[in-house]
């Protein structure tokens, strides 16, 4: 677990260290982990159909929730350790700094997804659950954009993420186009391939 590693480093355990600016180090590490987890979450569906391992789907919710968890920790570090709870700065940053505005939007959009990730909510929302959870696509795009805009000059790494995101979303576009008209994601949930009953284990692709 990355979090365990960072905790050790923060307290200088086992010779680990966070360097001269531990706050930025933790903030960046959590942001990066959140982004990585978002990408991994998005790759579950393609990997599942490419490998023919339907059981992978069960990992998806856990991965998504971990992504949310790290985004929350990332935000908390920013607010508490970086801004030192200066809410005036927070307000100014969210209003005036586009990369913060974008990151904040992504985080806010993740909240309803996390709240509706329970089996009960899945059942209750049925097909609407699918539509709601497609928010993960714009969220992932916002997260990459947020990363891109906060980099000072060296955009190679954000561009790499952009490439990965393009692959993951492009894969879906291709699949949707190839599906018969009645299975189009807007007309019917693509989850119909596995189950349309809204069963808890097969909430379709997101």
């Amino acid at each position: 677990m990355p979090l365990l590693w960072w905790t050790c480093a923060a307290f200088g355990l086992f010779g680990l260290s966070l360097g001269a600016d531990p706050v930025k180090k933790l903030e960046h590490a959590c942001g990066k982990t959140a982004l990585n987890l978002l990408m991994i979450t998005l790759s579950v569906t393609p990997v599942r159909s490419l490998t023919g391992l339907p059981q992978l789907l069960r990992l998806r919710r856990m991965l998504g929730l971990f992504a949310f968890f790290y985004a929350v920790v990332h935000f908390t570090i920013y607010l508490v350790l970086d801004l030192e709870l200066n809410f005036r700065l927070l307000g100014a940053d969210i209003a005036k700094r586009p990369y913060i505005t974008i990151g904040f939007t992504a985080l806010v959009l993740l909240v309803p997804l996390a709240l509706t990730s329970t089996n009960g909510m899945m059942r209750r929302l049925g097909a609407r659950w699918q539509r709601l959870h497609r928010l993960i696509y714009p969220i992932a795009a916002l997260a990459v954009w947020h990363f891109y805009w906060q980099v000072k000059r060296d955009v190679r790494e954000p561009l790499l993420y952009l490439g990965i995101l393009a692959l993951l979303l492009g894969y879906r576009l291709l699949r949707w186009q190839r599906l018969p008209a009645d299975a189009h994601p807007r007309a019917a949930a693509p989850g119909a391939l596995t189950s349309r009953s809204g069963s808890a284990t097969a909430p379709g692709r997101t």
Partner: protein, 314 residues
């Protein structure tokens, strides 16, 4: 935090003229301790000891950052864009022999060995604030001498309105230069009156010893009232010009990094605020502090910019 032992690169082998025995090192350490010089708490300064005097007039009373903090958290894109990259890779740079080319609007031009440039130049220690454009800051005990004293020797002509400084270009030794992150070589510049200002330093040492490579060995600039990127490292050329030089960050993103780059809490970077900064090495939750106009050096330098719109000339 203990620095890892590192293999000795040719650049690190002490040249005979600064070779010193363990005994003289000990004596130097005792002498400097006796004279009340700053000691680094975190990390032992490497490099050869320098003879210098503390300049109290130009030193701030804030507590200097540790040697480790100053030498493991650097922006020196020639060695990579991570803060840790310079301390990891800078040992690839050869700093001896080193020469500086002087060109442009000056009577004395040519190529000068580092030793000749430093000969007879008394060194001072000055504890300056250092403010990065990324909104973090340090307090650093530099050793050097006023740039004006060096420039005067080249007899700039009346057409010398600016000074342009250039960093070493050597992709073999500077792996970061193999990617076009900036327009290499790195170029910086000052108006001639800024360059001649007594606060503007040529720096050759840190914590009483020769500069480590990642901090810009063997000689660098320090302009304490400007954002850190103005303080160019590992200088190989000085050129006097009539026109404002095209400086590296200004060329890379002109709307984000101006030529002047004076520390100014009232003018934000387009993507982040400059009103406050985080002082590295502070306890948790006590690092953020207001940024001061001209980084706290307004009394000395504000007059240089009288009548200028600092929002326009940021």
């Amino acid at each position: 935090m203990t620095p890892r032992p590192t293999p000795i690169a040719p650049s690190e082998i002490t040249p005979p003229e600064v070779y010193f025995s363990r005994r003289t090192l000990l004596a130097a350490a005792l002498a400097s301790a006796a004279s009340g010089c700053v000691r680094a708490a975190g990390g032992e300064p490497a490099g050869a000891p320098l003879a210098y005097e503390r300049n109290a007039r130009y030193s701030v009373s804030e507590k200097p950052n540790t040697y480790d903090e100053i030498t493991t958290y650097n922006n020196f894109y020639e060695f990579g864009t991570d803060k840790e990259s310079p301390s990891e890779y800078a040992r690839m740079m050869r700093t001896r022999p080193w020469s500086v080319t002087v060109a442009g609007e000056a009577e004395v031009r040519g190529r000068f060995d580092l030793e000749d440039l430093l000969k007879g130049q008394p060194l001072e220690e000055r504890i300056y604030r250092f403010r990065c454009v990324e909104a973090w800051s340090l307090v650093v005990p530099w050793v050097g001498f006023p740039l004006g004293k060096l420039l005067g020797r080249f007899k700039p002509t009346s057409r010398a309105k600016y000074v342009e400084l250039t960093t070493l270009y050597a992709p073999q030794q500077m792996p970061g230069q193999r990617a076009a992150v900036l327009n290499w070589p790195y170029v910086e510049g000052l108006r001639i009156d800024e360059a001649m200002h007594p606060l503007t330093l040529v720096v050759v040492g840190l914590y009483g010893r020769t500069l480590p490579n990642q901090d810009g060995a063997p000689l660098r600039l320090i302009v304490p009232w400007k954002y850190g990127f103005k303080s160019i490292k590992s200088i190989v050329q000085i050129r006097f010009t009539e026109r404002e030089p095209n400086t590296a960050w200004n060329v890379a993103a002109p709307h984000e990094y101006g030529f002047y780059a004076n520390v100014n809490p009232a003018v934000d970077h387009p993507r982040w605020s400059q009103a406050t900064e985080r002082r590295l090495g502070s306890p948790f939750l006590a690092a953020r502090r207001p940024t001061l106009p001209f980084n706290g050096y307004a009394a000395e330098v504000a007059s240089l910019y009288q009548g200028m719109d600092l929002r326009r000339y940021f």
